[in-house]
């Protein structure tokens, strides 16, 4: 149990390695599925080809679609593609990058299935046994076309084959399996070469642009998670404050403004902090209409990617006009090379 937990934590620590983990699991599942699947060639001229090729081609399509379904980033891609422009431009290269990385991961399980099928040879044998050149494997001069085709179709089935003295079944099987394995190795070489071209040669062309698209696609993913987290926290605080207000309105007492904490009682301090931090977590959104507006605008009008500078109290809307006793004097300057705090003078009403 411990081992699984550790492996799970390691995989979840990084979004990319989690996706790679899913990808690896699907590849193993595809190999296991092939080995547990009982291949059953019909050995009839009309159906051999469709069955053989169907077994080769349809499960990969299924695995590819399953890869898309299991990948969390698909909904993120769709959302980013369909959203209105809002205050933030759309970058087509980021969309393309996200689509490419999703497709690449989804293509691994189908490739494993096709490779294993070709290396094993059964489906190739089933599909192409009727296209064999019989002169190499035996003497079939006395046979009509139809009889010959029916005999060839029975080659994949050891127990049904009844032409041992005419045609050497083992030699024909061996030949077809050899061709199938050759195709399998060529297919593997081709996809490895393609992956090599894409991965190793790509830095020659677009390295700087690549760093940018990688950053922004990762950013979109994290932003979505942060938004969900913030909404959850907001909902919790909203609910707490709402319930508190309701109780207060029933009981008639106002507890908010008379907190002079001269004596330290730990519980009261904690309550005070918790209440304050709940208020803080509300981030100023205190009504249903406001929250609805937040959620609506998040999709229809995404904010610009530009942060305002924060002042020390964290409340950007407190008027920082001087002259009034007790207000903070201006806000801290954020300069790139020096630390934020400066020589400051603080007036307080003691």
């Amino acid at each position: 149990m411990d081992k699984f937990r550790m492996m799970f934590q390691f995989l979840q620590s990084n979004q990319e390695s989690f996706m790679n983990g899913i990808c690896g699991i699907m590849a193993l599942a595809s190999a296991q599925l092939y080995s547990s699947f009982e291949f059953n060639c019909p050995c009839m001229p009309e159906y051999n080809y469709s069955y053989g090729i169907g077994m080769l081609v349809i499960p990969p399509i299924w695995f590819f679609l399953l890869g898309f379904v299991l990948n969390n980033n698909v909904s993120m891609l769709a959302e980013e593609w369909r959203r209105p422009l809002g205050q933030r431009g759309k970058d087509p290269t980021v969309l393309r990058y996200m689509f490419c990385s999703i497709s690449q991961r989804s293509l691994i399980a189908p490739a494993v299935w096709i490779t294993v099928t070709l290396m094993d040879g059964k489906s190739f044998l089933c599909a192409y046994s009727m296209d064999l050149e019989v002169s190499q494997f035996g003497n079939t001069s006395g046979f009509s076309e139809e009889d010959l085709t029916r005999l060839l179709a029975k080659i994949p089935c050891k127990h049904l084959f009844d032409g041992q003295d005419v045609l050497s079944r083992e030699a024909a099987t061996r030949y077809l399996r050899c061709v199938s394995q050759a195709f399998g190795w060529l297919f593997l070489l081709l996809i490895t070469l393609t992956a090599f071209m894409i991965r190793a040669i790509r830095p020659c062309f677009t390295q700087a642009a690549f760093l940018k698209t990688k950053y922004w696609s990762h950013y979109i993913d994290i932003e979505r998670k942060m938004f969900d987290e913030t909404c959850t926290e907001h909902a919790k605080s909203f609910a707490k404050v709402c319930i508190q207000q309701y109780f207060e309105s029933i009981s008639g007492e106002m507890r908010s403004f008379h907190r002079q904490r001269s004596d330290d009682s730990d519980d009261d301090d904690d309550d005070d902090d918790r209440h304050k931090s709940d208020e803080d977590k509300l981030l100023g959104i205190r009504a249903q209409d406001d929250m609805n507006k937040v959620l609506w605008n998040w999709h229809t009008c995404k904010p610009a990617l530009s942060l305002r500078k924060y002042d020390v109290s964290g409340e950007a809307n407190i008027s920082a006009s001087t002259g009034q006793n007790g207000l903070i004097n201006g806000h801290a300057h954020h300069e790139d090379s020096i630390q934020k705090k400066e020589w400051a003078v603080y007036y307080s009403k003691v």
Partner: protein
């Protein structure tokens, strides 16, 4: 469990040892692939050699390409080779060192495949059974009506009926397997001698320069990793602030003119937390700034000089009340 954790930690501590670990795993995968692959000699004169040599040499090419792909140093090397010079001069010795390290690691799995193939012998028998001189072996079946080449081509196939009552097939197979194993062991011996010789002789040639190139290639790898990590932390912080800013922008503007109540005073703990959080932003707060930063990282890498940041002066704060008495001081 603890032991496994220790082993994993050891391997992850050093980027070179990670590459070594991956290289060994790929070699083990190559052995496993060979044992699970069902070798299937066609036993037909025209195709034997092609099939057998294909099986002996195509998978090593695939394993080599995989080895290059999986290696982290490939990306580091390509980036260092292709980047514009910027503020940092390029060192060709580092690129050469990275290239040779990558090549050595990528060549291990193909070599393992070729050696396992030769030591097992099936490929060799399939490819060269027709080149054997049958006069050295007794019991060749000559009643089947097939010519010599075809009979010899069928030697790798055990089940064939023409060899049922003779020892010819077994004798030829044994001879060819022995040949194949001899070649395999010689190649292994040669490779080991080459490796040992290179290791012994290398310190004689310019060891000091070697230490420098090894340091700087390790540095490049670590720098790349740290840049990626910093980008990730930055994106996280950027996203958090962007979302909070979005929420706050939705509410109605309030202007509050109150005396500074207890609740609105900056608490030291909170300010410190915010400072820790904002550390990740490093002043980069807009999309154009991020784009410019990423573009410059590749086009114009910074010089290798961190004196300014290592020795930057710490700013101290003193709080005074209106009479000039010190309330609090960092000094």
């Amino acid at each position: 469990m603890d032991r496994l954790k220790l082993v994993l930690q050891y391997f992850q501590s050093n980027s070179e040892s990670i590459s070594n670990g991956i290289c060994v795993i790929l070699a083990l995968i190559s052995v496993k692939l060979y044992t699970s692959f069902d070798f299937n000699c066609p036993c037909i004169p025209q195709y034997n050699k092609m099939y057998a040599l294909g099986v002996m040499f195509v998978p090593p090419i695939i394993l080599f390409l995989l080895g290059v792909l999986i290696n982290r140093h490939t990306g580091v090397m390509m980036e260092e080779w292709l980047r514009p010079e910027g503020n940092r001069a390029k060192n060709p010795a580092v690129v050469k060192y990275l290239f040779s390290a990558m090549m050595q690691r990528a060549l291990l799995a193909p070599m393992v495949w070729v050696l396992v193939t030769l030591l097992d012998g099936k490929c060799f028998i399939c490819a060269f059974s027709m080149s054997v001189d049958p006069k050295h072996f007794t019991g060749m079946p000559n009643t089947t009506g097939l010519d010599l080449v075809r009979i010899l081509a069928k030697v790798p196939c055990k089940e064939d009926i023409i060899f049922r009552n003779t020892t010819f097939r077994k004798a030829v197979s044994r001879y060819l397997r022995c040949y194949s194993q001899a070649i395999g062991w010689s190649i292994l011996l040669f490779l080991i001698l080459l490796g040992a010789g290179a290791r012994l002789v290398k310190p004689c040639f310019n060891h000091a320069a070697f230490l420098q190139t090894r340091y700087w290639s390790n540095y490049l790898d670590i720098e790349q990793k740290l840049f990626d990590e910093t980008c990730v932390l930055h994106a996280r912080d950027f996203a958090r602030k962007c979302v909070v800013q979005f929420f706050e922008g939705m509410r109605e503007d309030e202007v509050v003119r109150l005396p500074l109540s207890y609740g609105l005073r900056p608490r030291k703990g909170r300010a410190e937390d915010e400072e820790e959080e904002e550390e990740h932003l490093h002043g980069i707060t807009r999309q154009e700034q991020v784009d410019h930063l990423l573009h410059t990282w590749h086009q114009c890498k910074p010089e290798l000089d961190v004196t300014k940041i290592a020795y930057r002066p710490k700013v101290c704060i003193t709080w005074e009340d209106h009479n000039g008495h010190t309330l609090f001081s960092d000094v």
